[in-house]
């Protein structure tokens, strides 16, 4: 699996159009100078050999150095992953909290006004382009009201998030923007789940036995939790790798921002390293979610 991921990462970066030398030479450098530099960076070798060298280094924990900056890719990616992880985790928690709330409300009161309101909010969350939402948030809360900062991860352009109030202010807008889609997806999923569970016989039986509504609710939650959790896990994975637009709009120094930079600079080692780390992260996350699911719902284990 990991080897497959590494091959795809390597090929994706190399198939993309453009020349990595663009980032490190004036565009009108002569062909001779380009050839010298191509040889110096090893881009003149056949692709399988380049892949072999890269893989060997990766297996030894070395993702190479960024062409554009000369800095080790490992340190660049590690810092960015940390920033993306914290942003994605907070966004997922907000999305999960709001999504389950709206989902339960809609599911419990299906067909009513509350259901419609909750459904409108969740559909908006899924449908509104999040980069557009981000820009609107910036215009309203940063430019017009001046309440929150619009770019960076902390004061003075800080690229490292720290758990203090100053840095928290920088996270609010990107996290809220990022939570819109998971909120919508989780709300719709939970609504359908709750509606389905409430129509099942065992709920009727519980109520017929005279169980209190709160106790019934607990049963509904237990039945809905595994699926909701799986959806949350997937959303966390998507947010980690798929937040290029939001991180770019807010100049949040995470993996999305780093990927965007690497793509525009044709910084192949940085591109390969970031994609590889994200892909492996996604695989690991799915594994963790699978394990958690089976721990919560014994039926999955039996299956």
């Amino acid at each position: 699996m990991a080897v497959g991921v590494s091959i795809v990462c390597f090929l994706l970066a190399h198939i993309a159009p453009g020349d990595p030398l663009t980032a490190i030479m004036p565009i009108d450098a002569t062909a001779e100078q380009q050839a010298q530099m191509r040889a110096a960076y090893g881009f003149d070798r056949p692709l399988p050999i380049q892949y072999g060298i890269w893989l060997w280094k990766v297996l030894h924990g070395d993702l190479g150095n960024s062409i554009a900056t000369g800095r080790p890719v490992v340190s660049e990616v590690t810092k960015a992953v940390g920033n993306s992880l914290i942003l994605a985790a907070v966004a997922t928690l907000i999305g999960f909290g709001l999504g389950t709330f709206f989902g339960f409300v809609a599911g419990y009161f299906r067909g009513g006004l509350l259901d419609r309101l909750a459904s409108v909010v969740s559909i908006l969350g899924v449908s509104v382009p999040n980069y557009w939402l981000g820009m609107v948030m910036v215009i309203v809360f940063s430019a017009l009201l001046g309440w929150l900062p619009s770019t960076g991860a902390g004061p003075g352009g800080s690229t490292e998030w720290r758990p203090d109030l100053d840095h928290l202010r920088y996270m609010i807008l990107p996290a809220l923007t990022m939570s819109a889609i998971p909120m919508g997806i989780i709300a719709r999923t939970v609504r359908a789940l709750v509606a389905d569970i409430l129509s099942q016989d065992f709920v009727q039986a519980l109520r017929a036995k005279g169980m209190r509504e709160l106790a019934v609710f607990k049963h509904v939650v237990r039945n809905a939790a595994p699926t909701a959790l799986a959806v949350m896990g997937l959303q966390l994975g998507y947010l980690l790798g798929g937040s290029i637009l939001i991180e770019t709009v807010f100049a949040w120094p995470g993996t999305g921002f780093l990927l965007n930079t690497a793509i525009f600079q044709r910084d192949l080692p940085l591109l390969q390293g970031t994609i590889l780390v994200l892909a492996l992260f996604f695989v690991t996350l799915n594994l963790i979610v699978d394990v958690l699911q089976s721990a919560i719902d014994p039926r999955i284990q039996r299956g």
Binding site: G18, T22, M135, G157, T248
Partner: protein
């Protein structure tokens, strides 16, 4: 009382002058368009913007650009060289003598001498020298193609020998920035260490630097050019590559100045009280014609018709005024403009007449393909601009099909030339040019021996008369004589409509009304020393 007032007056006026420092006036925070802090060791990366913010701030070249005027194109002024010229005893006209500026100190306290210049050239050109730096060489070597050798004559006298007579050498040297040999030695001969603590001779010192985050520059109070000692306390640079993020950062007060706001944002920024500062600068937005066999642009009537068909004022409206319509290949008012007889005006009827003469009409149009990009450094708003041109050309009988390729791919195609299969049969390429000096402005596009792979004469244009003019430029060591020949070249560019000449960008930047004293030079590079921040 009188003595008290005199003392106050003395303290306010004389003491700062004695120290060579004006009153420090605030902190300026700038949002750059680049994604990282430019290379700090001397030869910067990240193109013109890198050199603007980390080159001419921390470092000097032997010959600098005069960045003091907003009303005329920048000329050359002495930098670390006081004077330069051909060795009068050399009949080959390849030996240059440079008299260097005395008493110049690097930021680390070491003295600038001719040895330092040789050391810096070796850093870029000699792979076997201990200080050779691949990253700086990649940026700098291609800028000084004329240099064959160099040596120290005296501590403050340097000799440079060119491969052949080349009067454009002074322009080439403006790109080469001098870093401190002593600093490199002190930091263990490590360029990585120098990157964290660089030392140049420039008006600013790099105080601190965090990759991808910020760079803080503080004034160099001992700078040799006293009027260019910065007035600010500090200048902080932030990489903000996304245009909306830059605009948001300005509007929310996180920065005081942003480079390149989008035209869409100009109106709202102005209404919100921000200043939009623009000026013409050596940039042009063109279609570079292919001149290989079979290209329709080999017919001068077609080239002229296309140039007369473009509604440049309409385009200016499209770009919210952020452009200067081209009157030639060079910027309006440029000393090498000359007096072209062909005027770049919007005359569709005249264009139709020329096309008819060439055998085409709007009903039976010339059909051709042009390479464009959806975005790219210096490309302005290429899709909407090209669509307007497409409409304009269709009106006079030129039906253009666009082949849209990603910017980095377009650069590769541009390097490969019109004959390369990667050009996909296109007969023109939409490319923007840095047109700062004789080579980058005029020679590199059209000299016969600079066709790919030797250079960037994309269209394989070759005209012995033009080549002869280029040779004359390289052999004209008197600036007035050289300017006269460059004017002839430019006249030929325009009179023969050698490019589709559309517009010049205006290097827009948006800034808080608190920013005072900035003079936007007609150059890619700028002087930040005159700036102050109002309280």
């Amino acid at each position: 009382m009188r003595r008290f007032l005199l003392n106050i007056g003395f303290a306010l006026t004389v003491l700062p002058a004695l120290h060579g420092v004006g009153w420090a006036q605030g902190i300026l925070r700038i949002g750059m368009t680049i994604a990282d802090i430019p290379l700090t060791t001397g030869q910067t990366d990240n193109g013109g913007e890198g050199q603007r913010f980390m080159g001419y701030t921390v470092y000097d070249a032997l010959i600098n650009w005069d960045l003091t005027s907003a009303t005329k194109p920048s000329g050359l002024v002495p930098g670390l060289a006081l004077s330069w010229g051909l060795d009068p005893n050399d009949p080959t006209k390849t030996k240059w003598i440079f008299k260097l500026r005395p008493n110049v100190k690097f930021h680390d306290g070491s003295t600038f001498t001719a040895d330092a210049v040789v050391w810096n050239f070796d850093k870029l050109l000699k792979p076997d020298s201990p200080q050779y730096d691949q990253r700086q060489s990649a940026q700098g070597k291609s800028r000084i193609p004329a240099i064959a050798s160099y040596r120290v004559i005296e501590p403050l006298t340097l000799e440079i020998t060119t491969k052949e007579p080349d009067a454009t050498l002074p322009y080439q040297l403006t790109f080469i920035l001098m870093s401190s040999p002593a600093n490199w030695e002190k930091l263990g001969r490590s360029w990585d260490a120098v990157a964290k603590s660089p030392s140049g001779t420039g008006p600013w010192k790099l105080a601190s630097w965090v990759p991808r985050e910020r760079a803080e520059l503080v004034p160099n109070p001992d700078y040799w050019d006293k009027p260019r000692i910065p007035k600010l306390d500090k200048m902080i640079l932030f990489p903000l590559p996304e245009v909306n993020a830059r605009v948001a950062a300005l509007r929310s007060g996180q920065v005081d100045w942003i480079e390149a706001p989008s035209p869409d944002a100009v109106k709202s920024l102005t209404e919100a009280g921000f200043k939009i500062v623009t000026n013409v600068y050596p940039h042009n937005w063109t279609w570079h014609f292919s001149r290989i066999d079979g290209s329709p642009w080999n017919d001068i009537r077609v080239r002229k018709a296309a140039n007369l068909a473009i509604d440049r004022e309409g385009m200016k409206e499209l770009l919210a005024g952020l452009m200067v319509p081209e009157q030639g290949f060079l910027t309006p008012g440029h000393p090498w403009l000359g007096h072209p007889t062909f005027k770049l005006e919007y005359k569709p009827e005249e264009a139709k007449r020329l096309m008819k003469e060439a055998g085409f009409t709007p009903e039976k149009p010339l059909v051709t393909k042009v390479l464009i990009s959806p975005s790219g450094s210096g490309q302005m708003q290429p899709l909407s601009m090209n669509e307007l041109i497409q409409q304009n050309l269709a009106d006079v009988g030129i039906k253009v099909e666009f082949e849209t390729v990603e910017w980095n791919q377009l650069i590769n195609i541009w390097r490969a030339g019109a004959r390369d299969p990667s050009a996909r049969g296109a007969t023109a390429i939409n490319f923007t040019y840095f047109i700062l000096d004789p080579f980058t402005a005029l020679i590199r596009h059209l000299q016969c021996n600079l066709a790919p792979p030797n250079g960037t004469n994309w269209g394989y244009y070759c005209d012995p008369e033009m080549d002869n003019l280029f040779d004359q430029v390289r052999n004209a060591f008197n600036p007035e004589e050289q300017a006269a020949i460059l004017s002839k070249i430019h006249e030929k560019y325009v009179n023969e409509a050698l490019f589709l000449m559309v517009t010049h960008d205006v290097n827009a930047r948006a800034m808080s009304p608190k920013v005072k004293g900035f003079v936007q030079a007609q150059n890619w590079f700028q002087n930040f020393s005159s700036i102050t921040m109002a309280p």
